[in-house]
Symmetry: C2
Subunit: 357 residues, 2 copies
């Protein structure tokens, strides 16, 4: 634990729904005991106005004026380079300069990845950063019996070599230990079959590599079927695949909600049935509602970075701030660095080879 | 339409549940009007015994003795090469020799792909075959308002170049026209974003290529979110990705069914609610029940080949036989050949380049 309170830079611009849900989420978070302090980075007039409409603990919130933010509609590359003091860049600068311990942003994923890769160093041994997402599963995980698992990379980059995949495995395992309090997370590679010969060249090579690991509890390959079931605690894959899978889960959740709404509208008996079944339907909805999972951490950079969903509501923002606090408190970054250093010292990273897969 | 009745070779061995569901499915199919004739290829004693237990139309069923089948537990490569007259090989031989117009098999996917690629020529212009699967969607498709879409490749091969993907698009579009009676199917590439720059190199190149197509109604890229929603009629991707996505949809269906069963067991009020909601729950289950979709056609070979699910029940087998009949009646193979020849004649396949992506 640090001496001064944990401080989180919150990029209040760039969400799909404007600054209100961001500020409201921070206001809620400020009222909870044990929370960190939040720097609200954005258009200061608009932030003050939004804040006045919300109950909040002013002693735990400060506003930092920024030169706009990266809007979902604009070219984020241009926005970041033309406005060095835009909210996303400023959050990265606060984190890099040590004024903040973590940052949370709902700006477009590309903007968060680019700004952090420009402004933060990668941890030693990291070749590619990875965006990790918590997703709902049928099986419960860890001592807290959480109904979700972790998947990475879900889109920080497109391809991953074998060397990248094994590093993702170390980082994902560390994240599950620190944030999900799971002392011994089971890690698997996502492939098109469980046999060690199945998958792309990178997966086959990473499989062999992870089999020899003493750092990661490797459970072998899992298949698509295992994703919703939640057979393992951490699923490792390249960013392209992870992106498709994660968005698909989100789509399934929306379809389930649509069907339930349809049913609700149809007739009274339906409604009665729905009421009786409500805890079941709620369970289904909850399982597929990303809003409660609080955003996706970007792993491999020197600092805690949480990408909140572009459509975050106040609850999702507040949850993202909690996840960031937990990651800082558990020294996520330090532990990832230690894990990678141990793996390197043991010679584990030297083989089978370091080629791009 | 052919002069003699349509004949389908059914590989009754190799399913996860033995020959009974295969034979029962064929027996059911024989009783329906307008159906084709079925050659039951397998262990003839066992087939005759299983057949006697079922109502069937003997005039539409014949038994062809085979030297065993490829069981899900054995090495299919060894099985196929050591037993040239095993049921899967025999079905391919019947198709190649013209004694059958189509084959249906629930043997392991690898066995079906290997046996057909050894025994059947690929259609001119085809570089890689593709396994196409019908999957459930929220949105309805085509004039019949079917609640499902087509995805290919779901696992005939692992990787696909741009040149492969555009051929998959032509084959998938033709299949939707012939079997789903959709005169103008919308086809999209599965990627990690809708922009034409998103995805792997192969996807970006295929996108540009398909944009210039006069043969395929190309709708651009779709994302994971669009899969369950069913934004387009045909989703094109490489086999590795398609395999993960398809198995994941299957897993979601199983999780939904588990949750519903859980609820059912719990208490009376739940049960009452479930009864009232039954048509809604049935809708959800139906949407995710692959058994009613009747198997995945292998496209690009000279002949109609339908891979039924290893866990097929009699209904799934009967549906696979119907799909095969429809494909033969609609001259699927001839139409794919014509489509690819037209594309080649128009010079469409000559550019941007033929490199492996």
């Amino acid at each position: 634990m640090s001496e001064r309170p944990i401080t989180i830079a919150l990029d209040v611009m760039g969400s799909d729904h404007g600054i209100e849900p961001m500020v409201e989420g921070a206001a809620r978070f400020s009222l909870e005991s044990g929370g960190a302090e939040v720097l609200l980075v954005g258009d200061s007039d608009a932030v003050h106005t939004a804040l006045q409409a919300q109950r909040h603990d002013a002693s735990r919130l400060a506003v930092i004026a920024a030169d706009g933010g990266v809007s979902p509609d604009e070219d984020f590359r241009a926005a970041l380079s033309e406005r060095p003091n835009c909210s996303t860049n400023l959050c990265v600068a606060l984190l890099a300069g040590g004024q903040a311990d973590a940052m949370v942003s709902a700006a477009p994923t590309g903007a968060v990845i680019l700004a952090t890769s420009a402004g933060l160093r990668r941890l030693p041994g990291v070749r590619k950063t990875a965006l990790a997402a918590v997703y709902p599963t049928e099986r419960k995980h860890g001592p807290r019996q959480d109904p979700f698992a972790l998947m990475l990379d879900v889109g920080a980059t497109v391809h991953a070599s074998a060397a990248d995949l094994v590093r993702f495995a170390v980082m994902g395992s560390t994240y599950a230990q620190v944030v999900s309090a799971n002392p011994n997370p089971k890690v698997a590679l996502l492939s098109n079959g469980t046999e060690n010969t199945k998958g792309t060249e990178a997966i086959v090579a990473a499989h062999e590599w992870l089999n020899r690991s003493e750092i990661v509890d490797f459970a072998g390959n899992v298949e698509g079927l295992d994703i919703p079931k939640g057979t393992v605690d951490v699923v490792v894959c390249e960013g392209f695949l992870g992106n498709v899978v994660l968005k698909m889960l989100e789509g399934v959740g929306e379809v389930v909600a649509d069907l339930a709404k349809d049913a609700y509208a149809r007739r009274f008996l339906w409604r009665l049935g729905l009421t009786m079944l409500s805890s079941g339907v709620r369970q289904l909805r909850t399982m597929t509602d990303w809003k409660q999972y609080g955003g996706a951490p970007l792993l491999g950079v020197d600092g805690v970075v949480v990408k909140a969903h572009g459509r975050s509501n106040p609850r999702a923002v507040s949850n993202a701030l909690k996840v960031a606090t937990k990651a800082v408190r558990g020294d996520l970054t330090g532990k990832i660095e230690t894990g990678l250093a141990e793996a390197a010292r043991s010679g584990w990273f030297d083989e089978p080879d370091e080629r791009e897969g």
